[in-house]
Symmetry: D3
Subunit: 244 residues, 6 copies
């Protein structure tokens, strides 16, 4: 199968990290193509930046449909535009936040999400509700490292992730850890080794779920919430965005 | 005070209806300026259309800040970009969905929202959760009239709204009705007369709340969830969107 | 419009403080009349004292109806008799607890309530549930100052309110603070200045909501939960309490 | 042990029915004394009437303490003044609503409450939340018979109770039925026979719980929510209400 | 009445403690017979051990039915096999966990459960949900003493129970304490004395509830969740387990 | 990888159907071995039968560990013994109920479960809570066909499943359907074709999740809820059940 992984931010370096991680765990017959957003902010740490990333994300989703990919993965933990993407996509669109949280929910009684900055904690909580997982949620914690700095010092980031993961385990009762940023690619193994609990990278989870659903022949339901929008005039929006 | 009302869709006719309604109930010393989105779909009935409206909405919010308005109102019931707007706005941004649902919650034990099309019902439910009001929510119902057709036949629309409102009251226990679309401007009185319960227009609610908070000198909290985003590179985004 | 503000306790000094605050923020064409309870405890810090205040509160509500006020405000944070008042009132009755909590919910993602004594914390929590706002609630905290001592030392009270507000913000994630007692009139500005988040006085919120609803022509729904009681014999109750 | 059963309304006939039922199931060494309220409405079907009943209820609770009863039961399904009573009582105060709902929760997976009039349905739902039992609640239903008419035609009332109970079982999934009014005394057996599920009379439940707790030497906790109120001036309230 | 108390573990010493406690608070006309499990682990501190205890528990429940006891009590705080037992029992089966938690919910606004080992804390939380009592639950705490060591040093155990109970009260807001293990028989009075709040032993609660329901002629509902299983082949299961 | 699929009931015919379905969707390098329970009821439709199946289930789980399988799947929709199995297993144990419900939650906004008999509906609801998915749950419905009759007439069963699925979609808002019994193997495609929404077979979901987690090197967390039990005496239990 062919999966298009969209990095909703414009950082090519982060796209490379995502691509590497995805390919490491993908099956041999899975082809991974990873792309950066062509429009929007260099990183996404707020609702504002999410909003500015959406046109680019949706453009890629539409292109993936035209180019007949088998699945699309949105590789930003806030799953920007997930619902919108599903409405206009014939192929399944998976988010790394939604997938990794549900996977975590199946690997332990409670999971925590380690995000980048404290300002993203309310955001994670909103998404736990969005994905219907409050009953399985232990906590969200943040080492206070910005998205684009996650890869600048492996040691600092690793130390921060381990510290917050241990607090999540000991103080909040987490039994599984989700690394809450696509920029944390490559840290899962080391954090797992240090904490002794399953530590999930969202990109890997989404790739594995895409493969699983492809094998089973399943896609996203489009009967009610994710119905195709009606065709209607679009002002100052490129023509490829028109719904037919 | 001066309020900028942003119609997140591009329909000028709808903007006129919103403007008329807002001015009808605004205080004499409140100046209302209503504008249509300059980019995006003609109406918003899906997550996809919401996403495409956001750049235009945020552009207007930033302009309202530069032009020193006292408040901004987003006049689409899904409150598109509400959280994003708040992050980059020094002046308060209010949504007609959030405001009218909280007002409804204060006027009765349970409220229902009458939206346009059945496909928007999951959307309303998501927003009830987003605004933290599940405990006060009776139901969402839809007469099956698209946003842009709401004003084409007053009688048909009124009949549809009354029918669904009565079902909400009799079958779901609603005690207050929210008209769940800015395109329903002008219907509140007739529906109230027919049903005997308070019927709220979101635009009016938001104007009155903006006035109330202006008098009291209060604005949106920006200490945690709505912090200002960090400045960072924006690719293919107009320069006025840069955070300073 | 004419608003009757009922102080459910019998302390005239507190009534004066409430009156001052209400008038400070009321519009010029709003007439505020504030009265003390004529029956009941000097302050209300328990369910027992609430119960003893109710006959007096309801007596004033009935009188406000006879004297054709436009709205009634119950100026005690526990909103004593709110539901009972609404059942027998043709004019809208607003509570300072309900109104300020819903207003707080619209100004930030999470709010906390600062009450007087620790014993009132369970009480606040019950009311958060009563008003359907658990999803927006951060915490209740108490500086341990009794209602009637709140105004005896401005500095001590202010210090206590700031300390607990800061804890609510830093430890509980509050983004908005509600001053949870009518006796805290006059402290909102100083606490807001010290904490940097919106701080709401319930009396002001209720006055502004009463004005807003008056402008919009709305009142409390009386179709289901707040139906008028049936006339029936009352033993040892003054005749003005009879429902006709 | 000696139990004072307080009928919060002033109807002596209803008090007799309550007394009969209580005595039928009380143990031989349990002395039941049942009294009517000396102040308030003839029946309680609204928040307003609840409020007017409270002074009388609390007066009896205080008297029961002075007369050294072993327990007090409030025999109105809305448990009027339950929390207030507990604050000022050295002896345990039990409500028939709270007790029967918890008992029902132990006898089946889901219970329904059959109340008198449709207007009381929101009231029952509020109490289910008040007692923390939403997860065990199937529904509230009402045959539309006023409190004081429940005993006027045994056949009509029985028919109504059976009809609503069957609907609760078949349509709402109830496995246990609570008769939601002290005026329904004497109907439990016949409704149980007709429906095949446990049908609980609140008065009996409260008597049995009072006996059980008496045997075990337990009473209501008074450490936090039900602390004794502080002594303070009471205006126009009889002196026996003063807290010492 | 005759009650069979089943100790789901195989420790006869613990059965003796349970029996003593039950008899101490049972009424004179209540006959208590306590038995140990004849199959399974010496103590139950995990889901695994629960599973291994079930055949023995159900065997005793079936025998109690054949021997026409009036009620069965499962004397392990996790109420192992409660739902299964109810399906195949004509006589009521009560659990000490379910009963004591509901009793605690009636004696205070919030209760905590003190269990044995930290590993049982998630287990207690699961049961609070199982019994529908999340809204009344303050916390679960554990002194870290294994079931079979609870009676080896009265002082150590008492100290541990008091310490955790005090934390539950002071830090978690508990107003009632449940001793969360049948092996804690005999500690309730001393813990209550030290903490000043009601402290409940589950065995006593279940005995008192069994007596109460016996007096009232009520049993477990078997209309929906607890229907009798259909007869069907059982492989390698003793014949007395066959449903007829 | 090698997966042991345990059919918790003793019906070999059902085991064959499970095996066929699992092999149909398993990857080429996945080896599936399916076994029937060696002890317990012929089918599991009650808590009682669940209890009787557990020793056999756990015996197989222990054997799978000794024989170094890579994963175990419990192929009964109630996931009997899932938590207990995880406590004593070094290899991951997955349940078809838990996995398919989480997969369904990712493929649509709301899912319904079609079970066998109405008596299992409360059971499904309990499991939705057990897996923390209430927010994603639309309904449980049952065609009224017993487990062992599901395969006796393909047409009757298919008709029943389609009818209930359509009701779930149209009346309850389901967007995804879970076939809630391992005995429904082979019906997913036909029901999906008839309804137009994703229809999930639990066995397939669990196989695909086992493969995904195997690829990613993840297993069940054993840090808190699923800790290994302590070694302790077991009475009348075969020695292989001893924890070392």
């Amino acid at each position: 199968m062919r999966i298009l992984i969209i990095n909703p931010n414009t950082s090519d370096e982060m796209t490379k990290g995502i691509d590497l991680t995805a390919k490491k765990y993908a099956r041999k017959d899975t082809e991974i193509i990873s792309v950066s957003n062509r429009k929007g902010p260099a990183s996404i740490e707020s609702n504002y930046e999410t909003a500015l990333s959406l046109e680019g994300v949706l453009g890629w989703v539409l292109q993936a449909n035209r180019e007949k990919y088998d699945a699309v993965i949105l590789a930003c933990y806030g799953d920007p535009g997930l619902e919108a993407s599903r409405e206009i996509s014939e192929i399944p669109v998976y988010g790394i936040g939604e997938t990794s949280m549900h996977f975590a929910a199946m690997l332990g009684r409670k999971f925590s999400v380690i995000t980048d900055l404290p300002r993203e904690i309310p955001w994670v909580k909103r998404d736990v509700t969005r994905f219907g997982l409050n009953a399985k949620f232990a906590s969200a914690r943040a080492p206070g490292i910005a998205v684009l700095e996650l890869q600048s010092s492996f040691d600092t980031t690793l130390k921060g992730l381990i510290k917050e993961s241990k607090k999540a385990i000991e103080e909040d009762g987490a039994e599984v850890i989700c690394l809450g940023c696509a920029g944390m690619a490559g840290y899962d193994e080391a954090v797992e080794k240090a904490t002794g609990v399953p530590v999930l990278d969202g990109v890997v989870c989404a790739v594995k779920f895409a493969e699983a659903m492809y094998d089973y022949g399943k896609s996203i339901s489009r009967i009610f919430a994710y119905q195709k929008p009606e065709p209607k005039p679009l002002l100052n929006i490129p023509p490829e965005f028109e719904v037919k």
